[in-house]
């Protein structure tokens, strides 16, 4: 295979939590695919299938999607039991209440972690993910290893992400096989009593809403 056209090492100085510790690498497309993308894009625009502005707006919209949207929903659910009920019954409507727009997106179902049950989301057939809320999935979520392993060895996967759960907790793997996109509502960590919603939201990582980790207080 051809070498990727670009290989950008982008060492960010994030302090958002355990998700961001690894250096972030960008992997460019093979040259023939870079060319094919441009060809298809320019042909479709020339034919008026959509405009260049439509494309730019969609890219901006996806850039604005990030796990912080999901964290906002989770933090609200932690402080407001009525909101939590609405989030668990109709997630898209509850997201809209907090200005997270999921129209034109697949159905979203929120699953609540409890002291007796922990959810871990995967898509073994593809890479289905609640993109409208969390943005584009991480590379590992789309990897063949994660897709193969999560349903067979969920506790091993959790351990790789540094998550150890007692044996009496039911680990419930969620294979997103159809029209639903799943978001985990993690448990609020003890010690966060009385915290503001904003401070709570900072505890909620992307990985904890996929279910590979659980929110913890900063050391």
């Amino acid at each position: 295979m051809d070498e990727p056209a670009t290989h950008v090492h982008d060492h960010h100085d994030h302090t958002h939590g355990p998700d961001d510790h690894a250096p972030i690498h960008a992997h460019g497309p093979k040259p023939e695919y870079a060319l094919l993308e441009r060809a298809i894009r320019e042909l479709l625009i020339a034919k008026g299938v959509f405009g260049a502005g439509d494309l730019r707006r969609q890219i901006d919209l996806m850039d604005s999607r990030s796990p912080s949207q999901g964290a906002k929903l989770v933090a609200r659910a932690w402080v407001d039991p009525e909101y939590k009920k609405r989030l668990l019954t109709d997630a898209k409507k509850a997201a809209a209440e907090l200005a997270v727009d999921c129209s034109n997106a697949p159905e979203v179902v929120v699953l609540e972690n409890t002291p007796k049950r922990h959810h871990l989301v995967v898509c073994t057939l593809c890479s289905c993910y609640p993109k409208a809320i969390l943005g584009i999935p991480p590379a590992w979520y789309k990897s063949v290893e994660y897709r193969a392993r999560a349903v067979k060895d969920p506790r091993g996967v959790l351990a790789e992400f540094g998550t150890k759960l007692p044996e009496d907790v039911e680990v419930r793997v969620v294979d997103s096989t159809a029209d639903m996109r799943y978001l985990v509502l993690p448990m609020r960590p003890s010690g966060s009593e009385g915290w503001s919603e904003e401070r709570l939201a900072a505890l909620v990582t992307r990985d904890s809403m996929i279910g590979v980790t659980t929110p913890t207080l900063p050391a």
Binding site: D10, I59, W140, F161
Partner: protein
């Protein structure tokens, strides 16, 4: 009997370590993602996500294993746009040749 993409529990991947490195999205990734969104949008419905998946699932095993995530999407979009007559194979090839000539000068 399982299909190539039907990966749940499949060895040796189900026993392999997971590469947790974070990959920033490239402009290519973002373009392909946005193209698919626009093509599948209810106002156009030119390619459904289900069709994109079907097209990816009919790749050769080599294509499936060697293409990156968004290269797969793009190849599938290409195949479906041709299948549906939105674009022809020839005009795409011509456009690619023209772009190649342009970047070579």
């Amino acid at each position: 009997m399982r299909a190539m993409h039907d990966l749940g529990g499949v060895e040796p991947m189900a026993s392999a370590a997971i590469d947790r490195e974070e990959h920033a999205l490239t402009q290519f990734d973002k373009n392909v993602d946005a193209l698919m969104y626009l093509l599948s949008h209810p106002s156009r419905r030119i390619i459904r996500v289900d069709e994109l998946r079907r097209a990816i699932e009919s790749f050769t095993p080599l294509q499936y294993s060697s293409l990156t995530y968004y290269e797969k999407w793009l190849q599938a979009m290409h195949d479906l746009l041709v299948e549906k007559g939105v674009l022809t194979r020839e005009e795409i090839a011509q456009k690619c040749a023209a772009l190649r000539a342009e970047t070579a000068t």
